[in-house]
Each structure stands twice: as structure tokens, then as C-alpha cells.
């Protein structure tokens, strides 16, 4: 056992790890004192959660589990960013970038996997080179993927135009037609006339409408464009992007010309959410900041109207909507913010289990909203990003409050979102000429298919040759101009085409053996952390017995995506074949029952039983893959 790991392992009590090939850490000492153990546990987990030192980055090995990454996964953590390769639906190896808290939450908690951390020590300038390279590759690849998505959108838009349907654009749901002119928009209109001329809006509208009528999909000649993973691409503007932007600008100018008001669904109205009015009353200091924000947003609108950007339509609509919300806040004396969740479907169901924890959620989100609001109104310089964080904090609070009050599903996306409010907007009833539309659609389809194939050649994914492990090594090697330089910087260089590199746990072993690594650590999985915590409070033997199977476990409930099994096999490697045999029998028995029920359940139980049996097979050979997964609410 590596003595350097002793503090972490003692701190987590009986945390264990299996690295695919059944090697395991032996059991180790437990503290008699529960208090000391709890403190060390907290220190151990905290030490893993802390950012890597400035002159190192972390190589992560994420243990196997059922579902995605059933053979384990590897990643690099540099600062707060985690870089890792994923296999996406189109068949590419995509370089993903996640923030460490989210990455840890998904793999460590929800997917219940231990994460092994090996810090790679290197010079600060080499670390920066590694970081720059991974960021660059990520940005370049995502530009390619954005263009592929735009080609796909071209097809969809052409079909809509063929049918005479109004396209769906971001921001079209911020405003609705109104009978009266809204004072704040009228004031904007007057100032635009003063700055740019009395006929500015009319003139610009006519120009844009003419442009829209004549806008056609041009031949892209994509064969002439090089697709490189190391050079930032210059793509021609996609038909859909240009068309939708023109539509967005037209809508924005019509809103400015009068007859529109902020849509109720677009902002966070305390009344409709049932939030007490006193929670959103504007204080005098806040009022003065809101007046500053109002002036800033006005300047944003003027700047965007004349901006040379080719994508200013949606930002202009967003600035108009935020301006209207701030103006309404000043008028009514209560904080009115845009709703970043507008247009989303509810994703938190109204189950009894959910509502047990909802009161605590409301308290937590109310506190976050209050703190975010305080911080925002103390800023020396109000900025869009901070305003957006405030919008999200308010939305989370309002939504959970309404969910608690009404006992109905509500919206709670994990990401921080920009208000989008999509809606349909476009010249009514105008259709593209059928022959022209058909030709354009055919060309769009051909462009999409051809570009996708070329992209696959640059970013291939192949389980046996080009996977998450090999591509991580390949990108890391590309940072350095020679094998010698890589070896000097990292301690060694690995060959991405070597067989051993293909398998994540084996790659991690090679890294720890050959690279210049510091003290390794472990971020225990959700279940292992809970077991350790419970073991501090009760007889550990009893806890492990109770948690060893799904029938008596207080921690585990089967979730969609988990296979059918009876016994956890992570904990007792030496008994694994026996436990695996029980799981195998259970899976086969379920499959047998599934044969009988297949006319009624479309073969679901049969499939689940076979899947459960399949993931029991490695257990017969002392190999644990399956660990169960956990709900976000546990």
C-alpha cells in the first residue's frame, strides 16, 4: 500500500477501490474516535476538491459503472476546468470541457464512481501550454460542430419556408403586441430618432425587409475549406443563421416602433409565482443602481443597432427586454427580472419523495437569491454576466417556491441560462417558390452529409483504436514539439496507439508509473462516502451487511439505466464470484419471467434481465463494473 495515500484512506474509513482488473487496496485502520475520523474525512475530501497547485494538473481516472463509460473514463483537470473526450451521437470523439464541481457531481455522486487523482508536476510555463492547447482544441472543435449544426438548421428552416410557416427565433417571446405604446419604449424611440435621424427605424426596417425577401441559400463550396483540429476555421455564414438574424432585427425594430409590451411569461412576476411582494420591493440604494443599469441598457441598444456584428438580432431583443424589465422595476418599485427559464418544460416532477426535500430547497434558493441580489447591487460596475446570475438566482427561487405552493411540476435546469423566450416570427403566409426551395433543400442536405463525413475523418471515434483514453494522450502529446520535450515536461511520453493506453484504468496505471506525479488521492463515490459516514455512527459491520443488497439498503433505489441486480459486489472482492453468481442467476431469472411478460411489456423485462446478467459476468472473474447510480434528490 502506498503510504502517501494513508491519510486519505483513513479519513474515508472503509473506502475501497477497484481498478477494473480487480487489484484493490487492502483494508486499513479505522480510528476509534468518531470525532477525529469525521474531521479527517472532511479534510481528505476537501483536499481532493481543492484546485490543483499552479504548477500541476491532475490526471483523473473515473471508475467503471453501468451505462456510459462502462470501462472507466479518464480526464485532465487544470484549475477549475476538466477536459475529457466523449463519444457523441454523430460518432465523433468530442473534447468536452466541464467545470470541476459539475463533473465531480455527475461522476462521483450521480454515477457513484470513485475518482482517482494523480497530480502531474511540471513547470508553470508547461502547465500553461497544456491548458492553452486543450482550450484551443476545444474551441476549434466546437466551431466545427457549430457549423455542422448550422447546416442541419438550414435544412429545417428551408422546410419551414417551403411550407410558409413562421420560423422559431430566440427572443420572439419577450414581447407581445399591445394596444397602447409603452412609455419606456417610446422614450427609446425618441432618442433613436434624435441620434440617428427621424426616419432611422422606418428606413432600416425597409432595408431589412428587402434583404429578407431576396435572401437565398448560396452554394457554400465547402470542399475548398480545410477542416483542421489545430487552426481556427473561417466558415461562410450559414443560410439559417443569416435569415434568423434578419428576422430578429426586424422584430426588434418593430418593437421599437411601438405597439408592443413585455410578455408576462418572459419575466418573473411575483404574483403569478406566489412570491410575497415584500421579497422583491426595491430599496433606495437599489433604485439608484437600477437607474444606472437602465442607462447602460439604453446604450447597449444604441450600440447594437449600429454594430457591425452579423449576429446582433437576438442580443438586441434581449437588451430591449432587459431594458423594459428594469424600467418596469423603477416604475413599480419592485424588482422585475427576465425569466431565463421561459420556454423550458418542467423537469422536476411532483412526486412525494421530491416534496419531502422541497421546503429545504426553497430556503436554500431564497438565501442564494438574497445573497446574489446584495452582491449585484454593491457592484462598482454592473455587467451583463452578473445580471444574468441574478436572473437565474431569482428564477430558481420563484420556481421552487411555486412548486412547493402548488405541488405541481416545476422548472429547475442545472445550467445558468440566458433568457431566450423562443417564439415564432416571420412574414405571414409567404412561401418560397417550390422548385427553388426543393433545390436549396437538396443542396443543404448534400452539404450536411459531406461535411459530417469530413468531420468524422478529423475526429474519429473507435472503441478499439481512438477512444477517450487515446485521444486524451494524443492531445497531451501535441502540446510538445518532440518526444524528448514531452518527457522532460511530464516525466515520460506515452504512445496513444499502444494497446495499454486504450483501457482507462491501465492508462492511469501507466501515468502514475511513468509521469512525474505527486501524492495521489481518491474522491470516494457517493455510496462509499455515505457508508463511511454511517459507519462512524453505527456498527460498521451491521451497516455494510444492511447496505450489501438492494432489499435492505436504505441508500439505494433502482433508477432508470441501472441494471437488475441483487447484491453490491464492489465491497468484497474476494467474495465477488459468489456474489456475481447470485446476480447472474437473478438476472437470468428476471429474463425468464420477461419471456412470459414480453407480449405485454414489449420485451422490457426480458431485456433488463439479460442486461443484468451480462453485467454480472465480469463479477465471476473478480471484476466489478456495476455500482448503482443515485438520484439527484438523495
Amino acid at each position: 500500500m502506498d503510504p502517501a495515500r494513508l491519510p486519505v484512506l483513513i479519513g474515508v474509513g472503509t473506502a475501497k477501490q477497484c481498478i477494473g482488473s480487480a487489484s484493490r487496496w487492502p483494508r486499513f485502520l479505522r480510528f476509534r474516535s468518531r470525532g477525529i475520523a469525521a474531521v479527517v474525512l472532511a479534510i481528505a475530501v476537501r483536499s481532493v476538491a481543492a484546485d490543483p497547485e499552479p504548477s500541476q494538473f491532475d490526471f483523473l481516472y473515473i471508475e467503471a459503472n453501468v451505462g456510459s463509460s462502462s470501462g472507466g473514463h479518464v480526464a485532465l483537470r487544470i484549475g477549475d476546468d476538466v477536459f475529457h473526450y466523449q463519444h457523441d451521437d454523430e460518432g465523433f470523439a468530442v473534447l468536452a470541457r466541464d467545470e470541476w464541481p459539475r463533473f465531480r457531481r455527475i461522476y462521483n455522486d450521480l454515477d457513484n464512481r470513485n475518482i482517482h487523482v494523480a497530480p502531474i508536476e511540471l513547470r508553470a510555463e508547461d502547465r500553461e501550454k497544456v491548458r492553452d492547447r486543450f482550450v484551443q482544441r476545444h474551441l476549434i472543435q466546437h466551431r466545427h460542430l457549430d457549423f455542422l449544426a448550422a447546416l442541419r438548421s438550414d435544412l429545417g428552416l428551408l422546410q419551414q419556408l417551403r411550407a410558409g410557416a413562421a420560423p422559431r427565433i430566440s427572443g420572439a417571446g419577450f414581447f407581445v403586441p399591445a394596444r397602447r405604446r409603452v412609455p419606456e419604449l417610446r422614450s427609446l424611440e425618441r432618442e433613436i430618432a434624435a441620434r440617428f435621424g427621424a426616419d432611422y427605424l422606418t428606413r432600416r426596417l425597409a432595408e431589412l425587409e428587402g434583404l429578407l425577401r431576396s435572401h437565398r441559400r448560396a452554394a457554400l463550396n465547402l470542399d475548398r475549406i480545410e477542416i483542421s483540429e489545430s487552426r481556427f476555421p473561417s466558415y461562410p455564414p450559414a443560410f439559417s443563421e443569416v435569415h434568423l438574424d434578419i428576422l430578429s432585427q426586424i422584430l426588434a425594430l418593430r418593437i421599437l416602433s411601438g405597439g408592443w409590451a413585455l410578455a408576462r411569461e418572459a419575466f418573473l412576476d411575483p404574483e403569478s409565482f406566489g412570491v410575497p411582494a415584500n421579497k422583491v420591493t426595491v430599496s433606495p440604494p437599489e433604485r439608484s443602481q437600477l437607474e444606472r443599469l437602465e442607462r447602460q441598457l439604453r446604450e447597449s441598444v444604441f450600440g447594437l443597432l449600429e454594430s457591425p456584428r452579423s449576429d446582433r438580432g437576438y442580443p438586441l431583443l434581449l437588451a430591449l427586454a432587459r431594458y423594459s424589465a428594469v424600467a418596469a422595476s423603477l416604475e413599480e418599485g419592485r424588482l422585475i427580472l427576465l425569466n431565463p427559464f421561459s420556454g423550458l418544460a418542467e423537469n422536476v416532477p411532483d412526486t412525494p419523495e421530491r416534496y419531502r426535500s422541497l421546503e429545504l430547497s426553497v430556503v436554500r434558493h431564497a438565501s442564494a437569491f438574497r445573497r446574489t441580489r446584495e452582491a449585484f447591487f454593491k457592484l462598482d460596475e454592473l455587467d451583463e454576466k452578473s445580471l444574468n446570475l441574478l436572473e437565474n438566482a431569482a428564477a430558481r427561487y420563484f420556481e421552487t417556491f411555486r412548486g412547493l405552493r402548488t405541488h405541481r411540476p416545476f422548472r429547475a435546469p442545472a445550467a445558468v441560462l440566458i433568457p431566450n423566450a423562443p417564439g415564432h416570427f416571420g412574414p405571414a403566409g409567404e412561401k418560397m417558390v417550390e422548385a427553388e426551395a426543393a433545390a436549396a433543400a437538396e443542396a443543404a442536405e448534400a452539404d450536411y452529409a459531406s461535411f459530417r463525413e469530413r468531420l468524422r475523418a478529423v475526429y474519429p471515434y473507435n472503441l478499439a483504436a481512438r477512444n477517450c483514453a487515446t485521444e486524451l494522450v494524443r492531445t497531451l502529446n501535441s502540446v510538445f514539439s518532440s518526444d524528448e520535450e514531452a518527457a522532460r515536461a511530464l516525466g515520460a511520453q506515452l504512445d496513444p496507439d499502444a494497446l495499454a493506453v486504450l483501457v482507462p484504468f491501465r492508462l492511469y496505471e501507466l501515468v502514475t508509473e511513468r509521469f512525474r506525479t505527486g501524492r495521489q488521492s481518491l474522491s470516494p463515490s457517493y455510496r462509499n462516502r455515505k457508508l463511511s459516514t454511517f459507519s462512524l455512527m453505527e456498527n460498521p459491520l451491521w451497516i455494510h451487511l444492511a447496505e450489501s443488497n438492494i432489499l435492505t439498503s436504505a441508500l439505494y433505489r433502482r433508477h432508470r439505466g441501472d441494471t437488475l441486480f441483487l447484491l453490491f459486489t464492489e465491497d468484497l472482492p474476494w467474495l465477488r464470484p459468489v456474489l456475481g453468481a447470485v446476480n447472474l442467476s437473478y438476472g437470468l431469472a428476471q429474463a425468464g419471467v420477461g419471456l412470459l411478460t414480453s407480449p405485454f411489456d414489449r420485451g422490457d423485462r426480458l431485456g433488463e434481465g439479460l442486461r443484468g446478467a451480462l453485467f454480472s459476468m465480469p463479477e465471476l472473474a473478480f471484476i466489478n463494473i456495476r455500482k448503482g447510480s443515485f438520484s439527484p434528490l438523495e
Binding site: Y85, D132, Q136, R371, D380, E384, S631
Partner: protein, 148 residues
């Protein structure tokens, strides 16, 4: 019989042990990632010092713009393409009006410095013409980015 079982074991282990991650859609709720939500909303409080002008929450955006700038210096990247690229990065980071955001210009300055472009030669960069003409403070803000 035992040989067949051994092959099945071997094959299933190999088949199951080499998978890589399939893309996850961002479907989990904020109720499951309260720590990261809490981190993002409280990063406002690390914001805007008068000297710096950008907050903690915008450092990743600034650095992405720096990386983009570093990548295109010396290439034939057009001004229009550069502004498009900045717009995409900004959108990914939750910023729609990037022309009003100081972090944009600081990032450009940081990238130019890394690329070895002197402050005196900023205005010679073809790909920056659109950005430089977008607002009066653009050049001075880019120069401030050389601090990083």
C-alpha cells in the same frame, strides 16, 4: 463447457470494459447540482474591483477570448470572422453584448501579448479592425489586457 464459459467471460469483460463516455445532455435539475449553482451565483461577490473592471465570473470568458486571439494572430482571419468567433464564445459564456463587456478587450490584449504583438502594433492587426471601431475605448481596454 468450461472453455465456452471462459470465452464468454473474457468477451463480456472486454466488451464492457473499454467504453467511453457518451455525451450527456444537461438534463439533471439544479436540485442535483446545488453546489455548482451556489458557486456560480455567489461568484458575483468576487466581482468588479475598480482597478480590474471584470469579476471572477468572467475570467473564463476573458481567457477564452485570449486563446482565440492567440490562435489567429498571424493568420488571414478576417475581421468579420473574428467578431463572429468572439460572439460565439461570448454566447457560450452567457454574454450577448460582448462589445459592451470589458473582459472581451482584456482577453484580446492578453492574447496579443502572449502572441508577442506589441501595444504599438495593435492597430495593424487586420482581424481587429471591426473590434477597434466598435467603441471609442476599445484600444485602451485592449492595451489594459496586456497586464495579464
Amino acid at each position: 463447457m468450461y472453455r465456452i464459459l471462459a470465452y464468454v467471460l473474457l468477451l463480456s469483460t472486454v466488451a464492457l470494459s473499454s467504453g467511453c463516455s457518451i455525451s450527456r445532455s444537461f438534463s439533471e435539475s439544479s436540485e442535483s447540482v446545488s453546489d455548482s449553482v451556489s458557486d456560480s451565483v455567489t461568484s458575483i461577490s468576487g466581482s468588479s474591483s475598480p482597478k480590474d473592471g471584470i469579476g471572477e465570473a468572467k475570467i473564463p470568458y476573458r481567457d477564452d477570448v485570449a486563446n482565440l486571439t492567440l490562435s489567429v494572430v498571424g493568420s488571414n482571419f478576417s475581421s468579420k470572422n473574428f467578431m463572429d468567433a468572439v460572439g460565439r464564445i461570448a454566447a457560450q459564456r452567457g454574454i450577448s453584448d460582448w462589445q459592451s463587456e470589458k473582459a472581451t478587450y482584456y482577453g484580446i490584449g492578453k492574447g496579443l501579448k502572449k502572441a508577442g504583438v506589441s501595444k504599438e502594433r495593435i492597430q495593424n492587426q487586420t482581424f481587429l479592425q471591426g473590434v477597434l471601431s466598435s467603441r471609442a475605448e476599445a484600444l485602451s481596454w485592449i492595451q489594459r489586457g496586456y497586464r495579464y
